[in-house]
């Protein structure tokens, strides 16, 4: 090879190329073009020394599918690539991803700041279940960075927000929040599920860790529950002394220091070698395969999701039985400026409406839909509808429901890829059918 060829810079491939190719170079033995499903628990060692090297993390390779699996790894690399991160750890669900992310950062007695507008399932997990680990979530209105700053304590180890909130049409000011986090020498963790890396890449705005429920738009097909934690590789886990799980001798690995040994790979190594090993919330290879298939069409789906959602939101905003529409794609949204900054290609397809008829009207409307599916998911190719106060957010107090944008009058929509006029026609007849409740 001549010197000119050697020096030639590697091409910076576009998003669409990477969503199809990243992590899924053809398999070396057979040349299989689509990613094989390694439906397989364990991997033979060459000899005892090879096994020792693998268990000591001295070499790369597979031991057991609770830690790593080739099909899951393909999805992990694809998501890391699309987010612009260093590495990624896939796991059983979006909730598992949140536990895995905090497990690397938190010690018993530690705290973190979380947005009051998070998805209701996250609020319940953080506010109730995390207490059993002696992890304390401090819920703050993150629209006010000064309020976030005031809520910091010496024990605070992270700030957690959604780039685009589920279900409220709320956009977080990632750049400002990253600055607050970094002043305090702690990472900003962003749930990027609703936006996907096609619409928003939080690392470009200073976030340090991204989590996903891959169940939603990334897979898009409604087949596979899954989650992912993606690390930017940029946070210095050693500088503050606040993160012994990543930058102090790890007793579960004979005193190995992940930060010192793996540099910018420390977080992702820890998340597999300690997190998945001991929490056991592994993603199944089949789910990774189904999710990989989804990511191959991500940009095309997101474009149509956004276009359809904007049309539906504009229609509903003019409907006499609809009190308000909370959708960052609308000119009327208080989050419009933030959406234009962080989500220039579109503000997603999940949003809420407030019905003039309140709780009873919400229940009647969702029950009256014929084309929209009444179920508790978002980000499917099919249009979905839900009344949060009677379902996903029913564990929350009335005050928490309102803070999370899920009060009694609220209906959540996840607009799919059907013919948009058909979606509008179904919503129109459902609102008419619910007339008695208004």
């Amino acid at each position: 090879m001549n010197d000119d060829a050697k020096k030639k810079a590697d091409r910076a491939f576009g998003f669409e190329t990477r969503m199809i190719h990243a992590g899924t170079q053809p398999e070396p033995i057979t040349g299989a073009r689509q990613t094989p499903i390694f439906q397989n628990t364990s991997y033979v060692f060459h000899d005892a020394d090879h096994a020792a090297s693998l268990f000591n993390l001295q070499t790369f390779g597979f031991i057991y599918s609770r830690l790593t699996n080739p099909t899951v790894a393909a999805l992990e690399e694809r998501l890391a690539n699309l987010e612009g991160g260093r590495g990624s750890t896939c796991c059983a669900s979006g909730h598992a991803a949140q536990i895995l992310a905090f497990f690397a950062l938190m010690e018993p007695g530690d705290r973190f700041i979380a947005s009051t507008r998070l998805y209701g399932g996250s609020i319940t997990q953080f506010g109730k279940t995390f207490k059993k680990f002696d992890w304390q979530a401090d819920f703050v209105d993150v629209d006010d960075p000064d309020a976030v700053r005031r809520a910091l304590t010496p024990k605070t180890k992270a700030i957690f927000v959604e780039s685009l909130a589920n279900p409220g049409g709320v956009v977080s000011d990632l750049e400002a929040l990253a600055a607050v986090a970094h002043e305090a020498e702690i990472p900003l963790i962003v749930d990027n599920t609703m936006a996907t890396p096609y619409l928003c890449r939080p690392f470009e705005w200073g976030a340090d860790i991204v989590v996903h429920s891959t169940t939603k738009f990334l897979s898009g097909n409604g087949t596979s529950v899954g989650g992912a934690v993606i690390d930017s590789g940029r946070f210095d886990w050693a500088a503050s002394g606040k993160f012994p799980g990543l930058a102090a001798p790890e007793p579960a690995y004979h005193g190995l220091n992940f930060h010192e040994t793996f540099g910018d790979m420390a977080f992702t190594m820890q998340a597999h070698a300690v997190g998945l090993r001991d929490l056991g919330s592994t993603m199944a290879p089949m789910n990774a395969f189904q999710t990989l298939l989804g990511t191959e069409t991500l940009s095309l789906r997101m474009e149509r999701h956004c276009a359809n959602a904007k049309r539906v939101a504009e229609y509903l905003e003019g409907h006499p039985r609809v009190d308000w529409v909370s959708c960052a794609a609308l000119a009327s949204s208080p989050y419009r400026a933030l959406a234009q900054k962080y989500l220039p290609l579109g503000a997603g397809s999940v949003f809420t409406i407030g019905l003039k008829g309140g709780y009873a009207a919400g229940v009647k409307m969702v029950e009256s839909c014929e084309l929209l599916s009444h179920l508790a998911n978002v980000g499917d190719v099919r249009s979905l509808i839900l009344h949060p106060a009677s379902t996903t957010h029913r564990q929350l107090s009335a005050e928490q429901q309102t803070a999370a944008g899920a009060g009694p009058e609220v209906v959540r929509l996840s607009i799919g890829l059907e013919t948009v006029d058909d979606i509008i026609a179904d919503l129109d007849q459902a609102l008419a059918a619910a007339a008695d409740a208004f």
Binding site: V72, E76, R86, S88, T261, G263
Partner: protein, 167 residues
């Protein structure tokens, strides 16, 4: 921690292909130190790695006798892998330049976090290839699919079959 330095995949692959013997300055005899990890891994990939560490000179690390300096290594070696801090990398580079012709040194490789632009300039002026702020273990793994196995972003986009090294 990402570095502004960029090296093309082809450039790094050529270095890793053309190197067979590596003098590792700062190699540790302790099994849980990063240099020990890198040495053991590179040995498994078929490289001979000769430890250079005055504190353990004459003793063996992973079956290889350690030497106090590059000049004391009896045979030839194509690469000097520097597991020292950025400041200490200067004198090590100068030592390598002084014996480069006699020992057949072609590449000065400074580990992750180790950057010494002045030393790099002197090495380049002496006709040596310089890589800084990278780990040969990580780069070998990245370019031979092994980083991908761990969920890392290798940055490699290709419709050719994956390259794999000896596993």
């Amino acid at each position: 921690m990402s570095s502004p330095l960029t090296y093309s995949n082809a450039e790094l692959l050529a270095i890793l292909r053309d190197t067979r013997t590596i003098a590792m300055v700062g190699a540790s005899p302790k099994w849980n130190r990063p240099s020990y990890f890198a040495m053991k891994y590179l040995q498994e990939k078929g490289y001979r790695v000769i430890p250079v560490n005055p504190g353990v000179a004459g003793k063996a690390i992973l079956g290889e006798t350690a030497y106090a300096s590059l000049a004391e290594i009896p045979g030839k070696f194509e690469m000097v892998d520097i597991f020292r801090n950025s400041e200490a990398a200067g004198p090590v580079t100068d030592e390598a330049i002084a014996v480069a012709e006699k020992k057949g040194i072609k590449v000065i490789w400074m580990q992750l976090g180790v950057i010494n632009e002045e030393a790099a300039a002197r090495a380049r002026a002496a006709g040596l290839i310089v890589v800084m702020d990278r780990c040969p273990k990580i780069e070998f793994g990245r370019l031979h699919s092994e980083l991908s196995w761990g969920g890392f972003n290798s940055g490699i986009i290709s419709a050719k079959r994956r390259k794999v090294g000896p596993t």
